[in-house]
Symmetry: C2
């Protein structure tokens, strides 16, 4: 078994004065200090980073050695699976530990985006689509197709999407690391307006996650030494499921990759939905969070709104979702997101989530996604002791 | 222990009509057929790919699912460590097998480069340098600094570099998959001429590896099932050592990262240089191969030319190096190179290397490098049965 024993997390947002290297160094340094690990004891480094042309650093893994000269000669490797690059790094580090190749692993997810004009960010993120058929399509346009298909099959879901946006904005207001900390009510999120323009119909600005700079890091330990640490979170299951890249090869509303990843992870951990105390899931767009409710099995297809109306996914509900504010309010520096999700759930499970804290959280789920349900990573985390 | 039980390899060169997806599919399909593995039995896919802006496919891992619909829902992950991205994929697959997360792994290295003007390729590869200090420097210029430093410390090594180029061109002539199959004599390679112009003094055209399209793939098996296969090569040791990215942070001629990686891998495998029957090493530039001779311990620093003059590294010598033609003549589609090296050594160890064959080869070394000694991967491979 592999444990998460420390973490670091820059604020997410416009961090114009920090380079990719600065972000890596800040999150990594903080995670090692939090875990109480000397840099020289780290056996390997895994970096989650998308890039897609956003920064010229095409070979970032070794930038992490700048954290401390004692990291020289350690293996450092970059993982990429679009917006799930952070989880790809977590999973690769887990494999290295389970393989006996590392006992102490440092994982850092990072992205730098806000220095670019929005159009350039859209182009870079568009590189995560199937170029042969989808080149030139922006991700808001991709997920707008999901939303249109959903509205056509199940009726107008504007209210559900606005409730998700409003919930995540309210949650983000309680997260000091979040990019947006201002609550927005459902009426504001539901209505097209000057301040909430249509981005790709039916998706408005409040339906879209943010363009962000940021980094998050975790320190992972092998079983035998985790017991000596002041805190530990058990990575009880970690399941990755990739689906076909072309949208034309998938039934988009079935969201089969996310469904399979979450089903298999819960099965591997031996837990059901009722055992989960919280989840951080990939709300790159509000429609994605709605589809994730259904893929997770919280409700029948087309009935995602029920878990909003019943309060299930709000703070204090049976399964609070995105207590951190999610990609919507916390921000979405794409390579950092998967690692950030593992940090946020680990903080909850160790009682270290401040104003975001869910009472008595013992088991949490992370669902991180690359592309539109293409690279799907689900982790089940469990408190070992707090 | 992990075994290589099958492989595929496109020709390297100008493959203008093939997309990145086509290259992945061709090499992957060939490797599965060669191993006799049904696609549905594959537990995971690892893709080595640099990109750096050369193709718009910024999220390539799931392209591999196009090999066969039965690969749907398998994990597929991209690894990047510049020109060692191929070995990064091999090592990640090995970890997954050792971790018990996969029993059968498909590894594909791929790059598409020749559709771009040379200047654009140079820019893209330049993204593998430390941007803060080395932005705008091309890789020929980077390795020219190594060559200049070498010449200054040890005297003019033009003859040694020309002998390496000529050897690898002669070797490439015996490799049907090589991009250049024409022998070039030492005198031609040593002299600046219209056909062998200076690229970055003192490096001439014959000192530089090629711009290439191509893909290579291997199928890796866990120990227990490899015994049932018609062929198997034991991946006896696999060691990765990363050094600081900035050249300013390293003594370039010491080549410490490569030295550490090879020393540790031979130690882990329990073999010495005299146990090796052949090696495929990273001759991105002839000066790199010369420095690798010295880093490997074949000769003292500054005396790399001795192993050329004594015939050690030629076919029939004590340790033939780059029998495939190396990056110099076989070609260097950067993400494919590390996987190709594992294929070439595996073919030698199973008596399947055709005209390139070293007699009775039982143990081989792969040394694959990202950047100028930054990401260093060394594998020791061993014939199980032929």
């Amino acid at each position: 078994m592999v444990h998460i024993v420390g973490w670091g997390h820059t604020p997410f947002g416009k961090l114009g004065d920090m380079s990719l290297e600065d972000l890596i160094r800040e999150a990594g340094t903080e995670a090692l200090a939090h875990a109480g690990v000397a840099p020289g004891d780290v056996d390997g480094i895994w970096i989650g980073h998308f890039n897609g042309g956003m920064v010229p650093d095409g070979f970032p893994a070794s930038l992490a050695l700048a954290i401390d000269p004692a990291l020289r000669f350690r293996p450092a490797t970059r993982l990429e699976n679009a917006c799930a690059s952070g989880s790809a790094a977590v999973f690769a580090a887990r494999n290295a530990i389970l393989a006996g190749e590392a006992r102490i692993a440092l994982v850092i997810g990072v992205e730098k985006m806000t220095h670019l004009p929005t159009a350039d960010v859209a182009t870079a993120l568009g590189h995560a689509s199937y170029q042969k058929e989808e080149a030139g399509l922006s991700f808001p346009q991709v997920f707008a197709q999901f939303a249109k298909a959903y509205f056509e099959r199940y009726g107008d879901a504007t209210e559900a999407l606005a409730m998700i946006a409003s919930k995540n904005h309210a949650n983000g207001a309680r997260n000091p690391l979040a990019q947006l900390r201002k609550p927005l009510d459902v009426a504001f999120c539901a209505a097209e307006s000057d301040r909430n323009p249509m981005i790709a119909p039916p998706l408005k600005k409040t339906d879209c996650s943010l363009v962000s700079d940021g980094a998050a890091a975790i320190v992972m330990f092998a079983d035998d030494i985790a017991a000596t640490m002041p805190r530990a979170v058990n990575l009880r299951a970690a399941v990755q499921v990739n689906d076909f890249l072309p949208m034309s090869a998938r039934d988009v509303l079935a969201f089969e990759g996310p469904r399979e990843a979450m089903r298999r992870a819960m099965q591997a951990a031996g837990v059901g939905l009722s055992d989960l105390d919280l989840a951080e899931v990939h709300d790159c767009f509000t429609i994605a969070e709605l589809l994730i409710y259904e893929a997770m099995g919280l409700t029948e297809p087309g009935r995602g709104i029920d878990v909003l109306k019943e309060g299930t996914v709000y703070p204090g509900g049976a399964l609070p979702i995105n207590l951190s504010g999610g990609l919507k309010a916390k921000g979405h520096p794409v390579g950092a997101t998967g690692v950030s999700m593992h940090v946020m759930v680990s903080r909850q499970l160790t009682g270290d989530a401040g104003e975001m804290q869910a009472p008595d959280a013992a088991t949490g789920l992370v669902f991180n996604m690359g592309g539109s349900g293409v690279a799907n990573y689900c982790s089940i985390l469990e408190a070992v002791r707090t």
